[in-house]
């Protein structure tokens, strides 16, 4: 199983924020979800992969080669969907497509027309008059029309209505049926990833917290709910993050086996959702800071 994206010891700092020693691999043929709270560094990571932001140190490799500017062939294989509009707002959908299509040797006009109809994109409408959801649909139609092997999507589901959100996830699942296609999908809405992701990369405060198969997370993490009397100085140390209330506590443990050994008979032990893992990890790191 090869990596379509490989980051090796990447550093990037912006004043008070820094991405620190990021090393990770995005597997070919799978959907990888990039999660993390706002400001964690997800967009910077994606922009670094796209060559928009230069790392201060470290290497970014795409499809096995270094992401040198001189290799447009690598970018031909990437479809990019941004969380913000990057197209010329004064142009119409048709004009914008006319601008983009000649840059891609694998551009398929029939595929574009198919998605244009499916997404109900009006060719005569100006980009500035499209809603955020429609802009995302346009980006997606473009990305899918040049047979991209790798879709890189930065917060594609934010601003989408629930119906299209579900349709988009189905579309991505269908796209990934071709084992050569890969998707990197950043979001802070973890329910999207619960549905479709194979791998999860969790970024917090500029660092990789984990880079795991989604199924492996269930084997690793444990959510414990119980009375406050169970918490003492030693047991608190076992948790990555704890939320206490008047009635008891909820806490996330990073070692499921150890957690079950301690709390199986005295507390409720559950498999956490991605949202719970994200919430408690962020909360835990804030407390440690």
């Amino acid at each position: 199983m090869s990596d379509c994206i490989r980051l090796e010891h990447v550093h990037k700092s912006y004043g008070t924020f820094a991405l620190q020693d990021i090393s990770l691999g995005i597997k070919e043929g799978y959907i990888t979800g990039l999660i993390g709270p706002n400001g964690a560094g997800k967009t910077t990571l994606i922009q670094m992969i796209m060559g928009m932001v230069r790392p201060d140190r470290g290497d970014v490799q795409l499809f096995g080669g270094q992401n040198k500017e001189q290799v447009p062939a690598v970018k031909e294989r990437i479809g990019y969907v941004s969380d913000e509009n990057i197209y010329y707002e004064q142009l119409t959908v048709k004009q914008m497509k006319k601008v983009i299509a000649p840059f891609y040797s694998r551009w398929n006009e029939d595929t574009y027309v198919k998605y244009q109809e499916l997404f109900r994109l009006s060719p005569g409408k100006k980009i500035r008059d499209l809603s955020k959801g429609m802009k995302i649909k346009f980006s997606l139609a473009i990305a899918l029309s040049h047979s991209a092997d790798l879709l890189i999507m930065d917060e594609p589901t934010s601003g989408l209505d629930p119906v299209f959100r579900r349709e988009l996830l189905d579309l991505l699942t269908e796209h990934i049926q071709d084992e050569k296609k890969s998707i990197l999908f950043s979001t802070h809405n973890t329910t999207d990833l619960d549905r479709i992701a194979d791998y999860i990369v969790f970024v917090n405060d500029g660092r990789i917290v984990f880079d795991e198969m989604k199924e492996a997370l269930a084997e690793k993490y444990l959510l414990v709910k119980g009375g406050k009397e169970l918490l003492d100085r030693d047991t608190r140390r076992l948790f990555l993050g704890i939320r206490e209330s008047a009635h008891g506590f909820e806490g996330l443990m990073g070692n499921r086996a150890e957690g079950e050994r301690y709390f199986k008979d005295t507390a409720i032990c559950e498999t956490p959702t991605l949202e719970e893992i994200m919430y408690f990890s962020v909360k835990g790191s804030e407390l440690r800071v």
Partner: protein, 212 residues
């Protein structure tokens, strides 16, 4: 190289409405200030360049450009190559204006093509200062840079007159087409090309190292 062509085509698509505005511009300027018609050639070309550069930085469009399968070097090169169609367009419009004026009897003088070429040549020279600043300052500084360069264009006529006072040989060439010595024009042309080339290298260095 082929991608540069597509990038220039992109620039022409995004300024196509502005190009239509050139019709009233030439009509008004031709009617009110025809005696100095040669200097009309500079403003449209420079404004076309300023417009496309401003649009590239206005709405995150440089991110779009960098996301395309095109090296940054070609994005910069395309901006420099785009000077050619802008110059040709401005030149053609000015010549057309002259012929219209000639046919309706507004002028009987022959076309001052050498002066016209001199004005057109001022465009890449100005652009070679504008483009590195555009790539360096990006969105934040674009408005200020644009203002400064529009003022410089306004001073163009005075600058050409001043140039002719400093270099009588140039004035002689413009009026009669004769030159005493070839040395000065050759040095001027070489200096001109060198400025353009250095400008391109600076723009390239700035843009390739920049976070978009």
């Amino acid at each position: 190289m082929y991608n540069s062509f597509h990038l220039i085509r992109k620039d022409l698509i995004i300024v196509q409405k502005f190009i239509l505005l050139l019709i009233p511009y030439y009509m008004v300027m031709g009617f009110t200030n025809f005696d100095n018609y040669t200097v009309f050639a500079l403003l449209p070309a420079m404004l076309l360049l300023i417009n496309t550069c401003t649009m590239d930085v206005q709405q995150n469009n440089q991110k779009f450009l960098v996301s395309l399968p095109v090296p940054r070097q070609q994005i910069v090169l395309a901006k420099y190559l785009a000077m050619l169609p802008y110059s040709v367009l401005s030149f053609a419009c000015t010549v057309l204006l002259y012929f219209i004026a000639f046919s309706v009897g507004r002028t009987t003088e022959p076309l001052a093509w050498r002066e016209l070429l001199l004005c057109i040549a001022g465009f890449p020279l100005l652009a070679s200062f504008y483009l590195p600043l555009h790539y360096w300052l990006g969105r934040k500084g674009t408005q200020v840079v644009n203002m400064v360069f529009i003022m410089l264009i306004m001073l163009n006529f005075a600058a050409i007159k001043q140039l002719m006072e400093w270099f009588p040989g140039l004035a002689e060439w413009v009026s009669s087409g004769k030159a005493d010595s070839l040395l000065l024009p050759v040095i001027a042309v070489l200096g001109y090309v060198l400025i353009l080339f250095c400008s391109y290298l600076i723009s390239l260095r700035v843009f390739t190292a920049k976070d978009i």
